[in-house]
């Protein structure tokens, strides 16, 4: 269960973290741009495509991030699920029959591990992460590839596609293998607007 939760946490956190990066041509520029962002929130669309699917399956939700390491990642359709990261602790809740219950299958140790990672990434320290090799491409795209072959079975490549607007990430595409990927599309994210602390502490 550790591997499952570690990877799902990674996917969640990467998706939000990278929204704070700006169009830039080097990692140092990304780092300095990331330092200007204290909070970010908005809606997202998640599209899953696999070779077996005739058309992608779609989920929609809302996310909010506040420095140094508070995160709300909320699915609203087709199911209601909320991941909260705050004060070094993580919790996931799922709504079932109108009631919110905590998903205990989430391994808290691996979530804590990922929380430490997010702090590095939000400072633009992508090259500090020992798990990935990072390269910046000319077309507003950053490519992350796992260094460790064992990670390769979970994620082959991550593409971060930046919007023209500084500080805004347009898409994140996580390639699991040659014919399976998940695309996160961020819609009109709001940067450096106040976010109520309760958003990171309470499911509702």
């Amino acid at each position: 269960m550790v591997s499952k939760t570690k990877v799902s946490a990674l996917i969640l956190i990467l998706s939000v973290t990278w929204t704070s990066m700006c169009a830039a041509s080097s990692l140092s520029e990304i780092r300095s741009a990331a330092e200007q962002i204290s909070s970010i929130k908005g809606d997202f669309i998640q599209e899953k495509q696999m070779a077996i699917l005739a058309h992608p399956i779609v989920a929609r939700g809302y996310f909010a991030y506040q420095r140094p390491a508070s995160l709300r990642w909320e699915y609203r359709q087709p199911l209601q699920s909320v991941l909260l990261l705050h004060n070094g602790k993580s919790h996931r809740f799922v709504q079932s029959d109108g009631e919110w219950t905590e998903d205990k299958a989430v391994n808290t140790q691996s979530m804590d591990f990922m929380l430490q990672e997010i702090a590095k990434w939000l400072n633009g320290r992508f090259d500090d992460n020992p798990m990935f090799r990072v390269s910046v491409e000319a077309d507003n795209k950053i490519i992350m590839t796992p260094k460790d072959k064992s990670m390769d079975q979970f994620i082959q490549r991550i593409e971060l596609i930046m919007a023209d607007q500084p500080g805004v990430m347009k898409e994140v595409v996580i390639h699991e293998n040659a014919d399976s990927f998940t695309r996160f599309i961020f819609i009109d994210p709001k940067i450096n607007e106040p976010i109520a602390p309760a958003e990171f502490q309470k499911v509702q």
């Binding site: 591997s3 990877v7 799902s8 996917i11 998640q46 696999m50 077996i52 005739a54 989920a59």
Partner: protein, 220 residues
């Protein structure tokens, strides 16, 4: 303590060995109708199904997952992927007379897991296999088809509102799996259950609760 455990196990096992429900024969014109209905509660043709799944593990721990299934009634083949809410594929595979596992992340790679998952999916989306032993109705009036194979006996029970239940019994008439389907909706002239609950009974039993998000017909 060891003897107490064995005694409890024995009592539970004996209690589980029940008789099969009595099936009453239909009137002269009814058997063919019931038999027809039993084949028609499952979707015909090729479909892509997308479900939200609440899995309850032995011990009661619950997890939210999503699942996609590509099924074909013509050749009883199915492809599937079980994913996290975030879209990460935990286990995927296909069955076209032979089980193939395309991907399995720990702990979903343990022996027997994919086989069990495939059996659950076949039970959820296809008419039970095996010889149809009898059709008729239960004491409640619900229509029933009973199927038999060397390994098990399966009752498919259909209520007047279109909802249905499957009870599968192993040797000694021990109930091993149950499916309850409700919220029947018609899509492209095919019935789909919006809500399915599969229970695997036993000491290490589990439950899968599926909510249909979308059913898409496939043309080829």
């Amino acid at each position: 303590m060891k003897h107490l455990f064995l005694f409890i196990t024995l009592v539970v096992s004996l209690a589980a060995c029940a008789q099969l429900p009595q099936i009453y024969p239909d009137s002269a014109s009814r058997p063919s109708e019931t038999a027809l209905d039993c084949g028609q509660v499952f979707p015909q043709g090729r479909w892509q199904l997308y479900h939200i799944i609440e899995a309850t593990a032995p011990g009661g721990q619950k997890s939210a997952l999503t699942g996609v299934s590509i099924l074909s009634s013509r050749d009883r083949s199915i492809q599937w992927a079980l994913m996290t809410v975030e879209g990460f594929v935990l286990v995927s595979g296909r069955f076209d007379g032979k089980l193939t596992i395309d991907r399995a992340i720990s702990p979903f790679d343990r022996p027997g897991f994919a086989q069990g998952l495939m059996e659950d999916l076949m039970m959820l989306f296809f008419e039970p296999q095996g010889r149809r032993l009898m059709t008729g109705h239960l004491e409640t009036g619900d229509r029933v088809c009973r199927y038999g194979s060397p390994e098990d006996i399966t009752d498919l029970i259909i209520r007047n509102d279109g909802t249905w239940t499957i009870n599968r019994y192993a040797s000694r008439r021990r109930l091993i799996r149950t499916i309850v389907a409700d919220g029947i909706t018609i899509i492209g002239n095919n019935p789909f259950a919006k809500h399915l609950i599969l229970k695997n009974h036993g000491i290490i039993g589990y439950q899968l609760e599926l909510r249909l998000v979308e059913a898409t017909p496939l043309t080829n």
